[in-house]
Amino acid sequence: MSSPFDQIVVSSDGELAEEAELSLLETLDHVLNRGLVIAGEITISVADVDLIFVGLNVLVSSVEKANEVLRERKKTTSKEETG
């Protein structure tokens, strides 16, 4: 169940993210990472993904992390299609 977002609730200097940021991170974790899946039917564009993370200063490499998450999701849905 480990999610990349689980690792970013604590920033590199050991400080916890503020409540509003944590709330958004939790929302992202639930909505992007979980839920019913229809194989091969998740199509999202990443062009504006940095907009989610702008202002969330707990994330050091936010766009890279988001892309990593999305790549993992694509692999998962591809496996579902062929498996």
Binding site: M1, V31, L32, G35
Partner: protein, 263 residues
Amino acid sequence: MIYQAVLNSQNPHSQIRNLQFDNSSMKRYLYCVAEHVSNFPGQLVGIAEHEVELVTIEGLVVVTSKFEGDVVPLTRDNVLLHESVVRRVFATTTPLPFRFGTLVRQQVLNRYINARRHALIERLLTVQNCVELSVKIIWSNWSERGQTRLQSSSLPDESGPGSSFLKSKREELFGNQELGEQAKEISEWLGDRLKRFVRQQKISVEPQQKLVLSSSYLVGRDFETGFRSELEALRAERPELHFLVSGPWPPYTFANIDLEFKT
């Protein structure tokens, strides 16, 4: 092919309309599926500014909106909009939320509902009248724990590169082992204390990181207060741990019927 769409309006009586969909090109953005939906607000605007509709397929209600295009932009607003639509349904019943970005043609949706109707109904029964609560536990004194591990090493400080390498590997191995044992103990303690409030749970342990564990619980709505009270008691018992609690969520973690949740 004609499907029934129930559009809640401002009128006290719901209007049931038969809408004819263009099956060849129509795409639908999916929010969630439920056994029934009541008091759904009329003219609720969803992703891409299309009205959210309730579509009944094989007796199940799919909360959806039309979508023109092939990809759903991953933006803060769209994510929050998805969540807010699901939460509107969640106010009166517990649905199975779709993952963000689920975009299908009508035929695919029909096939999916037809093929998985029994599994969906079974899962809806499992989550019936429940909420999801998430708990993350973080070491409160992470940086101090790191220093303690370094200082407890038996190797002398004046070491060559080979000894330094062995020293760091030893610390990594035994540090991880110790953390792993502690995290396992915390996981068992947490599960044992919360089990009387919980219908299902998913726990992931990550002792090498600042995060000890990440967990989600399916809790009956009537048990939420008791669950939270117990968590407060647990906080007081373990001041070395920091608890992050979120929810109530619609049951995202417990919704998927095709993919077992990987730990």
